[in-house]
Structure formats: C-alpha cells, structure tokens
Symmetry: C2
Subunit: 164 residues, 2 copies
C-alpha cells in the first residue's frame, strides 16, 4: 500500500491536547446546520456579549476560515485559519497553522481542532479535541480559560441549533 508508519506517529502526544465534551440536546443535522452557516456561526462562535465577524468561510479542505471577535471593552481577537476535513454531520477539522489554500500562517495561538458529533441517548455527543504543538502552548490556552470559553460557545451552539 506504499505506506510507512513510524511508532512515534501512532503514540500521539496527548499531553498537548485540550478536550471538551458535552451531551447536546439538538440532533446532529441541526448542529451541523448551525455550525456551517456563517450567519448562524456568528451567533454562537464566541461568548456573548463578544461579537463575531465572519470574514471567510470556505467549507472545504484548504478553504479559508477567518473570524474576528470584538469585546464590549474594544478588545479584538483576529483568527485566520483553514478547514482541513469536512465530513457532514460527523467531523470537522480546522487549524490556525494554515490559512486559505493551505498557506502557512503565524498564529498567535497555534492549534488544530477536531470536532465530532455522534448520536447518543438523549441527544448528540459533541467533542472538540484541540491539539497544540507543545505543552507550553496547551497550558497557555488552558490558563486563558479554554474550558469555560469553549463550553459557553458549545451551549450557545446547542441553543442556536434548537431554534432551527
């Protein structure tokens, strides 16, 4: 099969990951709809009262994905990136390491996120696995309030999806 795999690649360095999971009420089809429509995404992508501007949303591998968030105190967070894998209603992979056309980026927060959705009794199991290049970056992301911030957004996503 022309495939060579080294042992190191199989043993993923999970100590550089942050993982958050929720059992959501909305079915996968609606969660996927709220995730992949930029008009919906801007409603849940960052914790309110921060707002999101969706500058690019090209939902395909190598497609540009660029959001800018703004806070009530004038703070901003500029987040260019790209989609890497799009499996409807199942899995979405995106990264800050690359932008549109897989062009290299110099991100303020280097990560790749794998979002999965799966049926489970009572709703949909939603898991976001956020991988970093090293433990220091993972720890910085954790200390910035990763779990609280992403948790709020996932609950906002569930509410948006329920309203579809």
């Amino acid at each position: 099969m022309n495939t060579v795999s080294e042992p190191a690649a199989a043993g993923a360095p999970e100590h550089t990951d942050l993982v958050i999971t929720r059992l959501l009420k909305a079915p996968r089809a609606k969660l996927w709809g709220a995730w992949t429509d930029p008009k919906m995404l801007k409603e849940w992508w960052c914790p309110k009262p921060w707002t999101t501007e969706v500058r690019a949303f090209e939902l395909r591998p190598g497609g540009h994905f660029h959001t800018v968030m703004r806070g009530p105190d004038g703070g901003t967070s500029d987040n260019p990136g790209s989609f890497l894998e799009v499996l409807p209603q199942q899995r979405l992979v995106f990264t800050s390491m690359l932008v549109g056309g897989w062009r290299p980026n110099t991100p303020w927060m280097p990560f790749t996120a794998i979002v999965t959705m799966a049926d489970e009794a009572g709703g949909t199991r939603y898991v976001a696995t956020v991988m970093h290049p090293d433990q220091a970056t993972r720890d910085k992301h954790d200390a910035m309030g990763f779990h609280e911030g992403w948790g709020i957004c996932i609950e906002q996503l569930d509410a948006c999806a329920a309203a579809l």
Copy 2:
C-alpha cells in the same frame, strides 16, 4: 452555498512563495509512481550523496510524512510533516506546519508545497510551489539554495521515473 470569502484571501501573497518548474521526460504515471512509493522516494528525495530515510509515508490527507536526510559529513535534516491533498497523477500538497493527524508542528522551515504534474508536448510539466508564512522565511529558504537543491531532486525524480 454557505460560503463567505474575503478579498484578502483571493489576493495570495505570492512574494512569500518560491516556485520551481521543469519539463520532465517521464510520463505522469511514472512520476507519480516514483513519488508515492517510499522505496523510490528515498532514491531521489535529496541531492546525492545525501541519503534519505523515510520514517513515515501515509499517503492521504492528514497522513504523516516524515523524512530524515543525512550527509556524508555527518549532517542531518529532520523533516516531519503531513500530506494535505492527494490527487493521483495531478497534485500533491504537503506541509511542515502539521504532522500526522493534522497535529501542529514547530518546523525549522515553515512551508506548504503544492506539486503539480500536467501533460505537455515532450513530457510532463512539473511545478512545485512552496509557500512560506512571511517574506523573511521565503528569503532564508531561497538563500539556503532552494532552486539548486529542489532542481537536482526533480531531475533525480525524472531519472528514477524513467527507470520504472
């Protein structure tokens, strides 16, 4: 179509790219064969008398792609990365920004390469477009002898493919 594109993404910063092209004698099928068989790849991947060890070669989007090169003077170059797009006999995209499973990397040389092969009178048009995160990185890659090094390898690839 749920797609938003910002003007900036369309106007690619080509001043951060290095591009090399050759008209090769071998047909696309043989070039693709010599590229995608790790036993062949190791024969042409770096300028001889340097040698290549292929530690991982998972030919699929997100697959790990890891080579280590060794020089006659004991020098080594360790290059983990990943494939991003695999279009047989047409296009291959790989990057040093991510490793297997799209996990972020901290590369010594940040780049994404797009290799294309197309039929042309007399053989195959082979183009490698190497994108960097900024002009300083592009200029460093250029000053390291990008055009000479990649040029030698592409000619080694043509010779390997011809022997298939």
